[in-house]
């Protein structure tokens, strides 16, 4: 399974990878919408990013093109940057209310 044996994967195989990726995306979305813990919510966005990464790699493999893999490097970068900021923000909020619940922060709203 090393690259030397470059041969295209067929569309059917690709469709299975994409199904996995779509399912992960959706599960991440559902988790983001339902979990109230801010840290877990952000974990869920990481899951969504991961799903996109899988899609990128699978498409890259299908097209025998490395730019998909390169894209994933940058997805990882962004994920790391977002995680750093998000965790710093969550810690900041935690200091105020000693809770990780997203619903604790609903002061701004429609009157």
């Amino acid at each position: 399974m090393i690259l030397a044996s470059i041969e295209p994967i067929n569309g059917l195989t690709l469709s299975h990878y994409m199904l996995t990726s779509a399912l992960l995306l959706v599960i991440g979305l559902i988790g983001f919408l339902t979990r109230r813990n801010m840290i877990v919510m952000f974990l869920c966005t990481e899951l969504m990013l991961l799903a996109a990464a899988i899609a990128m790699i699978a498409f890259g493999r299908y097209h025998l093109d490395v730019s998909g893999q390169v894209f994933v490097i940058f997805i990882l970068t962004i994920a790391a940057a977002e995680a750093a900021l998000a965790l710093a923000l969550v810690v900041l909020l935690y200091r105020h209310k000693a809770t990780l619940s997203a619903e604790a922060w609903s002061e701004l709203r429609e009157p």
Partner: protein, 531 residues
């Protein structure tokens, strides 16, 4: 690649600025710390000046086939730098105010670990760099990273914009929802990659053209494009991704809100334009393919109509000036989408012009809010503006002019922008859309009139009597400058139009620059030799 680097010189220059101010912000000398905004303005001014010098014909010729819209950068970078200068003025004295006061009065020692003014302006500049990079994007990675570079700093800016929990709440809402939208956007990009096998925009365009020639775009491309558009809708506060706007705009300091309403929106609009450019509007994919592909058109159409309408309706119900302007920002995104739907060259040019117009008007409105305070707290409620004329006549007049311009009152800047936009929509055959926009524009008078009437006609109330202007003069200067822009820029309508028209031309509509040659008598002829 080296050829392209020429066009990145403004960004690199601003990055030098980032390094300089991040150090300056930590300086022990107060004068140096206070000079940070001035240095930022200086860097932006230099970038503004050098940008047009970099876009020479021979350099453009070298990169022309590598970029979708080679000339986009010249216009956008200049606009972003110009508005950035005014936005910088708004932010003066915003960060670290209690600390600086304490240091000034000797109650506290200066402690570099506690200041964040330098960092604030670092984020500010980085975000602007992000927008400027968007217009140079030639692949999806670049586009994605530039968009992230635009928005990530704004999350932090919202959080630190004022020492209040509301700002942090705004930041967390903005950030988390933004992360979700970014993930959706990214998945859309992945699908686009899958459908073409390339991430380079020009190659994508060719691949789509090939698909279109053989039976239309594949489903992967359509779904991917729609997901990407929806994801980027977050940045331009369009329905259905607009829910955060009111809360976030209310929670952040006015200076940052003005920033949010212009900078990420510009980046988002540019990204939408670039993405759609790969698919193409009428005639772009060659004969046989008319207009945007159906699903994309339907999506954009619905987003456009809902955005205008919900924005205006929402604004009608607000009591808070900032929330009102937030909804108005939503509505204006809807207007701009008409231009996007209309497509090149007229529609895109109109959007670019409207971005400038909206940037100026919007900054003016927020500058008035940012220039006022009560006991060190920003004003938010509309009632606080009541009778502003009696205590701050200049600010009241600025607010009134801005409100008129936002309504689209001739001959102010907003009118010019709308006129051009609606004409583009009509030219492209989207009459229904323009009629809806006109009706919306009439509805919007209802609430903009409050922004006009309260400062000018209402009597001051006991609460609004307690409002004073901020101790720093710069927000007021910004208000004045932008108000002059609102009134004065329409006088240079021809020149503005030719600048935005230089960005993108197709063979369909002949270049309109020629029209102005005869008219701009005082202008040396070489100024117009823009390709």
């Amino acid at each position: 690649m080296v050829d392209k680097l020429w066009f990145l010189i403004p960004e690199m220059w601003l990055f030098v600025g980032v390094v300089v101010i991040s150090v300056m912000g930590l300086c022990k000398a107060r004068g140096l710390r206070n000079a940070v905004p001035l240095v930022v303005i200086g860097f932006l001014a230099v970038a503004f000046i050098i940008t047009p010098l970099l876009y020479t014909d021979d350099r453009l010729a070298k990169v022309a086939d590598g970029l979708l819209i080679p000339m986009l950068g010249r216009y956008v970078k200049m606009v972003v730098c110009a508005i950035g200068i005014v936005l910088t003025m708004l932010s003066v004295g915003l960060i670290d105010r209690p600390l600086e006061q304490a240091v000034a009065t000797g109650r506290a020692r200066f402690d570099p670990i506690r200041v964040s003014r330098g960092e604030y302006f670092v984020f500010f500049l980085l975000s602007l760099i992000g927008v400027m990079l968007v217009c140079n994007a030639n692949d999806l990675i670049w586009l994605f990273l530039a968009l992230e570079l635009t928005s990530l700093p704004t999350y932090v800016m919202v959080a630190i914009s004022r020492p209040s929990r509301r700002a942090q709440e705004a930041a967390v809402k903005y950030f988390f929802l933004g992360a979700m939208a970014a993930a959706i956007f990214l998945y859309g990009l992945a699908l686009l990659y899958g459908s073409t096998g390339t991430i380079v925009l020009t190659e994508m365009r060719d691949a789509f053209a090939e698909q279109a020639a053989t039976g239309g775009l594949n489903r992967l491309a359509l779904v991917g494009m729609v997901l990407a558009l929806l994801g980027v809708s977050y940045k331009i506060v369009a329905v259905p991704m607009h829910f955060y706007a009111a809360d976030v705009y209310e929670g952040a300091a006015s200076a940052v809100t003005a920033f949010l309403a212009f900078v990420p929106k510009t980046a988002g609009m540019l990204a939408i334009i670039l993405l759609l450019m790969t698919v193409g509007w009428s005639g772009h994919l060659g004969p046989g393919v008319e207009g945007l592909p159906q699903p994309i058109l339907i999506t954009l159409w619905m987003i456009c109509v809902l955005t205008m309408t919900l924005g205006n309706i929402g604004a009608m119900l607000q009591r808070s000036a900032k929330r009102l302007l937030a909804y108005s920002s939503i509505a204006h995104s809807g207007y701009m989408l008409i231009g996007v739907i209309a497509g090149p060259a007229l529609g895109i040019n109109a959007v670019l012009l409207y971005l400038l117009a909206y940037g100026v008007m919007n900054t003016a409105a927020f500058a008035v809010l940012a220039a006022l305070e009560r006991k060190g707290e920003e004003i938010e409620s509309l009632d606080d503006l009541a009778g502003l004329r009696h205590r701050h006549p200049a600010l009241a007049i600025v607010m009134a002019i801005t409100a008129l311009s936002l309504v689209g009152f001739p001959p102010l800047l907003g009118f010019l922008g709308k006129l051009y936009l609606f004409m583009a929509g009509v030219e492209a055959g989207h009459v229904a859309l323009v009629v809806i926009a006109l009706i919306n524009s009439a509805i919007s008078a209802w609430y903009y009139l409050r922004l006009l009437g309260l400062p000018m006609l209402a009597m001051p109330t006991p609460t609004s009597e307690t409002i004073v202007s901020r101790p720093v003069v710069w927000p007021r200067v910004a208000a004045l400058v932008t108000a002059i822009g609102v009134v004065g820029l329409p006088l240079f309508a021809g020149r503005l139009l030719s600048a935005s028209e230089a960005v993108i031309q197709t063979d369909e509509v002949p270049p309109m620059v020629d029209q102005f040659d005869a008219l701009m008598v005082d202008q040396p002829p070489e100024d117009q030799s823009v390709p």
